[in-house]
Symmetry: C2
Subunit: 417 residues, 2 copies
Amino acid sequence: MSQEWLDALDPQSPFGLEALPFGVVLSEGRGPRLAVRLGEQALDLAAVSATTGSPHANLFDKGTLDPLLASGRAVWHEVREEIAEWLTSRRRAASTRPHLLPLAGRACAMPFSIADYVDFYSSEHHAANLGRLFRPGADPLPAAWKHLPIGYHGRAGTVVVSGTPVVRPSGVRLAGDPAEARVGPSEKLDFEAEVGFVVGVPSELGIPVPIDRFEEHVFGVLLVNDWSARDIQAFESVPLGPFLGKSFLTTISAWVLPLQALEAARLDQPPKEPAGSSHLAGHAGHAGHAGSGYAIELEVRLNGSVLSRPPFETMYWSAAEQLAHMTSNGASLRTGDLFASGTVSGPAHGQYGSLLELSWNGTQPVELEDGSTRRFLLDGDEVAMTATAPAPSGCRLGLGEVTGRVLPARPTRAAPA
Amino acid sequence: MSQEWLDALDPQSPFGLEALPFGVVLSEGRGPRLAVRLGEQALDLAAVSATTGSPHANLFDKGTLDPLLASGRAVWHEVREEIAEWLTSRRRAASTRPHLLPLAGRACAMPFSIADYVDFYSSEHHAANLGRLFRPGADPLPAAWKHLPIGYHGRAGTVVVSGTPVVRPSGVRLAGDPAEARVGPSEKLDFEAEVGFVVGVPSELGIPVPIDRFEEHVFGVLLVNDWSARDIQAFESVPLGPFLGKSFLTTISAWVLPLQALEAARLDQPPKEPAGSSHLAGHAGHAGHAGSGYAIELEVRLNGSVLSRPPFETMYWSAAEQLAHMTSNGASLRTGDLFASGTVSGPAHGQYGSLLELSWNGTQPVELEDGSTRRFLLDGDEVAMTATAPAPSGCRLGLGEVTGRVLPARPTRAAPA
């Protein structure tokens, strides 16, 4: 084993051999190509398998992660081993190296087809912050919050890949003082830093997926920016929850990190008080909860200024609990289901995952490095989220970044040509 | 023109030549077949076009409505004319007749692939009934209710075709007196009678679809039973809305009626007081609202007893307004998007579209013809919904029925084999 030929790979890169996330890159004249990321390059999997052969060639040549997602855990692990072999074997180097494509200036496509998109609300710090903001004096957490992971379905059709522009949405929003319903562009456009989980293996309608089957069904992890128009959301959400305040756009990272890469990042979740509901217990009882947290450290930058470093390990409800809950009523899973954690906020101000919290609903503007301040996002602002987690070597590995720049609202009466 | 050869067609059938809804029937050995329904038979479109030729053969042979949905309004109308010609031309009879398949004992498949599923809440009577039940003494309508059509995203992956069994869901629900959170099978399983609209032509991300473009995008109409576990829903819904109380199953009719068949059913909606929000105005201003209601009469039966006859014409928000609202923030449409009206309830008790309203949250049990009573659904209960609307001839045409039988809850710790 040798990787000396991988001379282009920065040894400090969070996208070294321990990460190997999957994505789809666009290649001139050859359409979308399934790839793994290595540093600032992408290895074209179909091109390698076409020259050297692979038992998994039919999973690589569709220009999407979909067939690999559906193939199940044993194949996920085999494919990861096979790709590592392509990258590290001296014998393989000559046939692998020509298929490393530079990422600079190259667009990525959606890595997989989104089936259903569910968004949870599983950070206690985030939920309590929102309670303090909007229900001062009352219990900051909703009554059900510690009984189950609260969540809702979002719009799968407007989940887009990192880099897609974010047109400021218009709608009926609460504005003015006293606040009343007015139509116009959102004045409280916000981001939410989240971690998303991608379902590979479907489940049967009517049969809950127990907590200890999490790794049989979930392929991997990505970053999510759940863009939110707080003023639209505030007006529309009673009693059926967020709708247009969220559905205009949700951005995911272009790279999906297999769960297997995160083994060294696993840790116990914060203790539950009171204990979680019995409908989430695994076959091994609550032991199923141990090690279901992940030590993922997020970073949120606005126009280059670091705004926040949300720690995913502080989440109260784990992804395994979310999956068990989501199916506890018999709802089935499909390949490509995406479920996100909800805004990741730690206990400290510099760990909040939204501007709503960082600016305390606009009352405490946040200062950027250029001296300007923000209550909410302005046109032209670019939000970038990245994350790293411990790798088996003791180094850190990366989750792909999720970025988006805000464009001005379009005229509200515009129509297709 | 002659239809004398259509001897099997009951002249009183609501599925005569003025209806011609599309669906997918299962055929032994030949897989799913796209068909139109004619009385109690289904015409296999690919089989006819294979023997006689058709400019639309490539829309008929995929065993799903998906390609026809995407083909646009001009083609929708051409195809409807072509099929009517197949059925009514004496010259065509010999080649058409052999491809009429009896529906008795034949299963239907999902007629199309659901992209996103949105459920609205657009009956003022229903929303006000729920307000009176759960917020007595307060304004029965939520603050935003008359400003915009309130809605939320449901789970597309658990939308199933009529006839699919309904396994009673389990979950964390409010039960006992005083009510507290307990895990177990729902004790308040309910139906909701709704009308759903199917999007054919997609729209561009960031560009709202104005109200007067409704018929460019929407292919047709079907019936929806939005099964609801009221006790699960009641506990989980603050602040993000319904989730597991709805996501276990939503049933649609097997037959999709093209909008074109409903021209004679169009009528003005109830007047708006105050006027609807300006973000819903069409390019012709509020004139776009005229004629956007539909005189569809629903009927709900439980084990054969008629429980209710909800009148769709009483809906406050129209489907055109719902579509305009749903895209007013720039959210795009995809082929196969399904949006439902919300429970259709008229002003009178016999017009309520849910057991929650009919039994007034279980306090006034409903009596069936066999003398038994219901507060909510029991295991073994079968709910059947049908609907008719005025046809151009002055007769009535039908929307396909949506049925489902309740099966007992499964053990909560069951796991896949």
